[in-house]
């Protein structure tokens, strides 16, 4: 199947530091791809490169075979939607107005939103189960509600691929679940692909089709959750000892923290033997 988004040996640097080096990645249709990695590994940067916001020093970013740089901004926005990690709403737009903004890439300069655009926006709100919030001011919403509204906005863009930068960052476990459920259902039912940068290894392992771990700007590992989420893999990437086993309820990989220098309390399921005594 033709990948929607291709990163071919992409490298990027800020000033003198190489934030991304030689990353190859493909995202196909109807895939939920999770990007994991420690802080500072370049996950957000990678996502921005995928979204066309940052231009790589070397390598190519292709959308359906065409270089992203060849697209006009508006055109690209009709294909790729981006939901950032933090949102500052300086002015109090209503929820509906925010979601309607997602229709902008499809409108000409002086064109106003039509009935059809309105319907698309409402439908997007329905999909994220936030239709009842439509008339509220965006400032009044809780973190979880805001996140859903922004995903609705991304949906309203009618894109082929949605990029999410830590969508569950400030949410409690219930909302974390909800968000992952939501994006998983989007991939299933709405025929979009989603790439999500996240720290929630368990949830990513549970919901994503594929996972990628970034470490120090390089691709550390890539593959199915089972392949990527292993004790050795996670411990090495995050530089912290973990134990990975199976979640008895879901069958997905489950990550448990063990401690920095491998202070294991014993038991056969322990990982490697402690290297040095403290």
């Amino acid at each position: 199947m033709e990948p929607i988004l291709t990163l071919d040996t992409v490298s990027y640097r800020y000033e003198d530091t190489w934030a991304i080096q030689g990353v190859r990645l493909e995202v196909g249709a109807r895939e939920l791809v999770g990007i994991l990695g420690p802080n500072g590994s370049g996950k957000s940067t990678l996502l921005k490169i995928m979204g066309g916001l940052l231009k790589p020093e070397s390598g190519a970013v292709l959308y359906a075979g065409r270089p992203v740089a060849a697209f006009k901004r508006r055109e690209l926005a009709q294909k790729i939607a981006f939901v950032a990690q933090e949102h500052a709403f300086r002015f109090s737009f209503s929820v509906l107005e925010v979601v309607l903004m997602g229709r902008s890439p499809h409108l000409k300069r002086l064109q106003f939103e039509s009935e059809r655009d309105l319907e698309i926006a409402l439908q997007a709100l329905r999909t994220v189960d936030a239709e009842r919030l439509a008339a509220r001011s965006i400032h009044e919403l809780s973190g979880g509600e805001k996140q859903r509204v922004l995903i609705a906005r991304a949906l309203a863009q009618d894109p082929e691929i949605i990029l999410l930068d830590e969508p569950t960052a400030f949410l409690d476990i219930k909302y974390k679940m909800e968000i992952f459920e939501l994006i998983s259902s989007l991939v299933r039912d709405k025929q979009v692909s989603v790439v999500a940068v996240t720290h929630d290894i368990d949830l990513a392992a549970l919901y994503c089709n594929r996972l990628v771990i970034l470490e120090n700007g390089r691709l550390f590992s890539a593959g199915t959750p089972a392949e990527v989420v292993t004790s050795e893999g996670i411990s090495a990437a995050y530089d912290c000892r973990v134990l990975v086993d199976r979640n008895p309820a879901t069958g997905a990989p489950r990550v448990s923290l063990v401690g920095r220098a491998g202070r294991c309390t014993g038991g056969p399921a322990c990982g490697k033997a402690p290297s040095t005594a403290y």
Partner: protein, 340 residues
């Protein structure tokens, strides 16, 4: 059926028409009130072209009318500029003077006054030249490889304002008595002795700029979400910033060269408009612009009336609006300033 707020073309047209009606009322009111008592009927007849006797005609057509029109034009431009800058800089405290164009214009005018140029053409020309120089400076100093970052450009504005203000203070402190009065009067913002000719010259440019800026309405909505977010939704952020900055600065430079520094209008009116009609710029822009015209006409009328037969510079009246406005803002929306 969900009750929701959104801006439609119908809404924009309707509200604009209502505001224009209010503007017409304000104009009539301002023409009627003044040092000389002119009965309303005489006013109407004069405006309709009938001859009503020397003094009335003279005062209404040659003294008050040009002044009211200029007040409207200046209020229009400054409020529109304020709304756009508040979006561009994502800062509710922004107004068209924040980037220094006004102090450049002021310095130009001060120099023109010192060199003895005429009030009708020389001084406005110098003032506008000062504004242009400042625009260039801001572009040179405030933009980088990455383009116009709002924090950088705000700082640039502060620096330019500080420098030009220092130079102005120097000139004011070393000037002689009669020049001093003239300089201070200009700096406080004054609309007396306005001319049709001047307003007629700049009005088309201001209106044209306003129309172009209206076209950026939706983009400005998106820009309030942040450069990156706007970019991801298809806005050419750099182009939008530069074009809007140039258009607003041009408008501001033009009106300031005729009116002096009339502060607070560009700050207050967009806020009031937003409180009444919401933050969507496709409605905010016309409401701010027309509302600004109304406000300044009313302020100027008050300036003419309150110490009659003398008159206050209108900038003094608008300055008095500042503190109570911020008070209200703080009380009603204090919590929102802290939201991220």
């Amino acid at each position: 059926m969900i009750l929701h707020r959104r801006v439609t073309p119908g809404k924009v047209v309707f509200i604009s028409m209502v505001m224009t009606g209010i503007l017409a009322g304000a104009i009539l009111f301002s023409l009627w009130l003044g040092t000389a008592d002119i009965p309303f009927s005489a006013l109407c007849r004069t405006l309709l072209g009938e001859s009503t006797g020397g003094t009335t005609e003279l005062i209404v057509l040659k003294v008050r009318l040009p002044r009211v029109l200029l007040a409207g034009l200046v209020g229009f431009a400054l409020s529109l500029g304020g709304a756009v800058f508040q979006a561009l800089l994502r800062n509710p405290l922004a107004e068209p003077f924040i980037l220094g164009v006004s102090s450049g214009a002021a310095l130009g005018a001060i120099i023109g006054i010192m060199l003895g140029f005429s009030f009708q053409f020389g001084i406005p020309a110098f003032s506008f030249a000062g504004a242009l120089v400042t625009i260039l400076l801001v572009l040179l100093l405030g933009t980088r490889r990455m383009g116009m970052e709002s924090s950088t450009i705000l700082l640039t504005g502060v620096i330019i304002n500080a420098f030009f203000t220092a130079v102005i203070m120097f000139f004011v402190s070393t000037s002689t008595d009669s020049r001093l009065h003239t300089m201070l009067f200009w700096l406080y913002g004054d609309l007396s002795q306005s001319h049709f000719g001047q307003s007629a010259l700049i009005a088309p440019v201001v209106i044209l700029a306003a129309v172009v800026l209206y076209g950026f309405g939706r983009d400005l909505n998106l820009m309030t979400l942040g450069d990156e977010a706007a970019c991801h939704m298809g806005v050419d952020v750099e182009r939008t910033k530069i074009h809007c900055f140039l258009l607003v600065s041009l408008m501001t430079g033009l009106v300031v060269s005729l009116s002096g520094l009339i502060g607070f209008v560009g700050l207050i009116v967009p806020h009031l408009a937003r409180m009444a009609f919401g933050p969507d710029h496709r409605l905010l822009i016309p409401v701010s612009a027309i509302g600004g015209a109304v406000l300044l006409i009313v302020c100027d009328t008050f300036a003419r009336w309150v110490v009659s037969p003398s008159e206050l510079p209108v900038g003094v009246v608008t300055a008095f609006l500042g503190a109570p406005f911020f008070m209200i803002l703080l009380r009603t929306r204090g919590s929102q300033w802290n939201r991220s």
